[in-house]
Amino acid sequence: SQTIHQWPATLVQPVGSPLSLECTVEGTSNPNLYWYRQAAGRGLQLLFYSVGIGQISSEVPQNLSASRPQDRQFILSSKKLLLSDSGFYLCAWRSWGIETQYFGPGTRLLVL
């Protein structure tokens, strides 16, 4: 069966520090991968998606970037965090031929 992992689960970082969040998927090949951000009490905002290794599509201009160095690994990064980067970051995957996106457990980021 397929599983999705995200780490860390919680992160507290100072303003101006770098960020690296990791997402890995097991049990599937060549998935579509997604990064979402969820502000408190709000819906999900799509940040990036990837249809293959090295292919990244950005949905909104921001202080973040994404990379996909391996088929089942998706990384969200920042060189300098802003206060507004705080939120709940969710990774999701979807296999070709399956329409549903499945979400990971999320990383809660607090920028102080």
Partner: protein, 111 residues
């Protein structure tokens, strides 16, 4: 932006009653819709989906209704239980790669 919206941000329901959560979507080209349940501090969990060529689909204790004429989606939960307390999101698929989510409805089940 968020093109999918929900009529009510909160819903309080008595345990054992049926719940109905509504959702309005904006993109008439969307061909696939999903309902997710999100418990506090966790990632959204798939509940049920429906394609645009259907108007009703049933799962275990849940039913999704789709009215394409008025671009409306609803989730019905039968015999609501305390474990159903969560935020419920609807999502539409305007193209093959992306989902667009609404702001969510918080469901609180009263004992």
């Amino acid at each position: 932006g968020e093109s999918v919206g929900l009529h009510l941000p909160t819903l309080s329901v008595q345990e054992g009653d049926n719940s109905i959560i509504n959702c309005a979507y904006s993109n008439s080209a969307s061909d696939y819709f999903i309902w997710y349940k999100q418990e506090s501090g966790k990632g959204p969990q798939f509940i049920i989906d429906i394609r645009s060529n259907m108007d009703k689909r049933q799962g275990q204790r849940v039913t999704v209704l789709l009215n394409k004429t008025v671009k409306h989606l609803s989730l019905q939960i039968a015999a609501t239980q305390p474990g159903d307390s969560a935020v419920y999101f609807c999502a539409e698929r305007p193209n093959d790669y992306k989902l667009s989510f609404g702001a969510g409805t918080t469901v609180t089940v009263r004992a």
